[in-house]
């Protein structure tokens, strides 16, 4: 039995110049908020940007973007076209599961990831950001295996337990021969990021250090407010460093 969808996945991404997967290994570090905000910041800089939420059990990028799932649905055109939302093309399983709990097991997650990549027509993009789910299991392995041109950004917080989990995440990424272009330390507590040693150990760079910003809760669901927040200012600097990586 052959799964034909696997053949077309990288063909669907042929007009996407850069694929960046945002992951961690630990939950609650701000992956979705950083992936969504980076997509918005890059779009504001004039780049054509896509965002794919691959957290199938608890998708949240659509909540950050303030999307009404009852009124937005991907257009069907020889596959599906991601809706344009706040200047970015956005794809999520949430369009199809709404906000219902969707308890997928590993093999179902693999099948759903394959389906979404096989049917989604991104067309031309400068950047596609992928919001990886937490953990180091099926979803991570599937995305690392399936998407050939991706590069990875690791998100951490200044806590030893997170750093240890991110270290495992980065080892897995390295073992799958995907490049880690840098680390973002979120909710940072001091000017000296704990993640410096991690970056050195993995021969990569710090792309950003974002302090804990309590007011961030007020911006969830409002991209306009999010883009005018301090959080977005820090991510604009990170976006510039990412652009430097791709133009080096």
């Amino acid at each position: 039995m052959i799964d034909p969808r696997l053949t077309v996945i990288n063909k669907r991404l042929k007009d996407v110049r850069n694929v960046i997967a945002i992951g961690s290994g630990k939950g609650g570090v701000g992956k979705s908020l950083i992936a969504t905000s980076l997509a918005l910041v890059m779009a504001r800089k004039g780049y054509s940007v896509g965002l794919m939420d691959l957290d199938f059990n608890c998708p949240s990028c659509h909540i950050i973007l303030g999307i009404d799932l009852q009124n937005i649905y991907p257009e069907e055109e020889k596959g599906v076209i991601p809706p344009q939302v706040h200047g970015i093309k956005f794809m999520s399983i949430a369009y199809y599961t709404k906000d219902e709990p969707t308890p997928l097991r590993g093999s179902d997650i693999s099948a759903a990831i394959t389906e979404l990549f096989a049917i989604t027509r991104w067309n031309k993009l400068d950047f596609l950001f992928i919001d990886l789910p937490p953990g180091t299991s099926d979803e991570l392995l599937d995305v690392l295996r399936l998407i050939e041109k991706q590069k990875v950004i690791a998100i951490t917080t200044p806590h030893i337990l997170t750093i240890k989990a991110v270290e495992k995440f980065m080892k897995i990424v390295n073992s799958m021969n995907r490049e880690i272009i840098g680390i973002i330390e979120n909710m940072s507590l001091s000017k000296t990021p704990m993640s410096v040693k991690l970056a050195k150990d993995f021969n990569t760079r710090i792309l950003g250090v974002i302090p804990y910003i309590p007011a961030i809760e007020n911006y969830i669901g409002s991209p306009v407010k999010l883009l005018s927040s301090d959080f977005a200012k820090y991510l604009a600097e990170t976006a510039n460093r990412i652009l430097d990586v791709f133009t080096d």
Partner: protein, 137 residues
């Protein structure tokens, strides 16, 4: 149509196969799980259009459909798609991403949301029959 994307995947896969295996592909057997509610007429039309001017132009595509069967991981009860009532809106969601079924279905016997799809998910290639070409002439 979503069927086009899947038909394109089938054609690309078989064309890749022909690059790796010498010979002419005479028949391709395709299994279609009913969970995805593929419109077979559109799927066949898309295949016919996509194989034009390719080495698969005269290939015979054979289709077999497979009922969707679920099994409850709590009580072991097994049921089919035809045993439950789903709205057209939900069926459309499942059409695009069959795993969306886990958001809308519960075990009809015990009410658990912990169940598995046993078979009948979507489109798979069962067999590619190749006829060896005599290239001595």
């Amino acid at each position: 149509m979503h069927e086009w994307a899947l038909a394109e995947a089938v054609v690309e896969t078989v064309l890749n196969y022909t690059r790796d295996h010498k010979g002419k592909v005479v028949e391709v057997k395709i299994k279609i799980g009913k969970l995805q509610s593929i419109d077979l007429d559109i799927f066949k039309y898309a295949l016919n259009e996509l194989v034009k001017n390719t080495p698969l132009a005269n290939t015979n595509f054979v289709f077999s459909e497979e009922d969707a069967i679920f099994k409850c991981n709590v009580c072991g009860y097994m049921w089919g798609l035809k045993d439950i009532n789903l709205s057209n809106e939900i069926l459309e969601n499942i059409h695009f991403v069959p795993e969306a079924v886990y958001a809308y279905v519960k075990c009809p016997k015990c009410g658990s949301i912990d169940f598995s799809l046993v078979k009948g998910r979507g489109v798979y290639i069962e067999e590619i029959k190749v006829e060896q070409v005599d290239d001595r002439s």
